[in-house]
Subunit: 235 residues, 2 copies
């Protein structure tokens, strides 16, 4: 936790917040914080700044808060991801949030196992929990938008063309394709497939929607690694 | 497992291998393989190619193997990493192996908790297990070299200058430093700090050894994410 993220409900006055639960535990056990300490804080969907610990005991912490810095910019990106397996999903949500992706579409694909859609990690509260861990890691305050699309074809045919309009549309896909471009200076729509990759029909449909396949080399990377590697290369 | 990795002990003839244990279980449960199937195989520290399943039962599998492709190139890189916490260490070893890092130095740092050096995940067999998972993921056959350095100062003063000689020496470090270069066409020595970063003394010592700090932006990334992002940007 490199940023203590405060939510509206934590504030008892404009410049005063009370903490309990997970963040209080973290203050005690990881920060080993003491009264008087100054901590880096942010307000969810708001500014960042510093907080001074006025009071700290086993039950709660009281902070005096001064917020004056903007959160870091997001990437100019819409990321389409075939729904990963549940354990990977949690890590990917943290990574996406930490790296500054503003909008993530979790999409079905032929190679997504049907059971993956049943995971409790897809419930809004569970998604939000992972996104917040990513924000706390990276020092950001703004939650990404998560869109869940359980049907590939209607999404890619009916909604993707508008979503991708005006952006550079890319499909991260192993094979004899051009190398993924570097340091692009425009908005990108990037689709990353499941373990085993998109099937040819899906690549065709994504191409019809305006996206072009690009590759990162011979090595097959795990989804989380591929997301990070493609974003680091593109931006 | 995108590559079935065979070791010398698996071969019963030059073109014939027997499998048991973890890989046999994977063939049954994940690949749902059947006699006659052709699988992508590789020989540890050797070539890659295909294997045909001649026989498969609950106890073992017999493969006819033809190896004729070289493993993918490694990156021209020596990676120095402050020892991560044990759970992260395992994932980082897989990532390093999958991304084609040929040599990893696990190094002490002021901010590495002493207890991290006690983890069983640092035992050679445990390290090897994670590296092999990375090779199987990425389709590579060549294990990276892992060097363990429990003392920062003697390593950085006495051995690092020779190790880094002739390469572009970089320290991935948040702060007011130049941006990490992109698409370099030479050998690199890259040092990545612990959670919380290298302390100023350590940055000074790494600089004396010929490494220069570079940054990836305002966001603080987890070690695993930082490794992937820096490598994707550099190569």
């Amino acid at each position: 936790m490199n940023l203590l993220l405060l939510e509206d409900g934590d504030f008892v006055a404009a410049d005063r917040a009370l903490l309990r639960g997970r963040r209080l535990k973290h203050l005690h056990e990881v920060h080993r914080a003491a009264v008087g300490d100054s901590l880096r804080v942010g307000r969810l969907d708001g500014l960042m700044g510093s907080g001074q610990l006025l009071r700290l005991d086993a039950n709660e912490a009281e902070l005096s808060v001064e917020l004056d810095q903007r959160a870091p910019d997001k990437l100019p990106l819409t990321l389409l991801l075939a729904l990963p397996r549940p354990k990977m999903l949690r890590r990917v949500l943290q990574t996406v949030s930490a790296m500054g992706v503003p909008r993530l579409v979790l999409l079905n694909s032929y190679r997504v196992e049907k059971s993956f859609w049943q995971t409790p990690f897809l419930e809004p509260a569970a998604i939000r929990e992972q996104l917040i861990l990513g924000l706390e890691q990276a020092r950001d305050t703004v939650l990404p938008e998560i869109i869940i699309e359980k049907r590939f074809k209607p999404f890619v045919e009916d909604r993707l063309p508008a979503l991708a309009a005006g952006s550079l549309g890319l499909i991260g896909h192993p094979g004899a394709y051009p190398a993924c471009p570097r340091a692009v200076d425009r908005a990108v729509t990037l689709a990353i497939g499941p373990e085993g990759g998109w099937i040819p029909y899906e690549v065709d449909k994504l191409q019809e929607a305006g996206l072009q396949p690009v590759q990162l080399g011979e090595r097959i990377l795990r989804v989380e690694t591929a997301v990070t590697a493609l974003l680091a290369r593109l931006f």
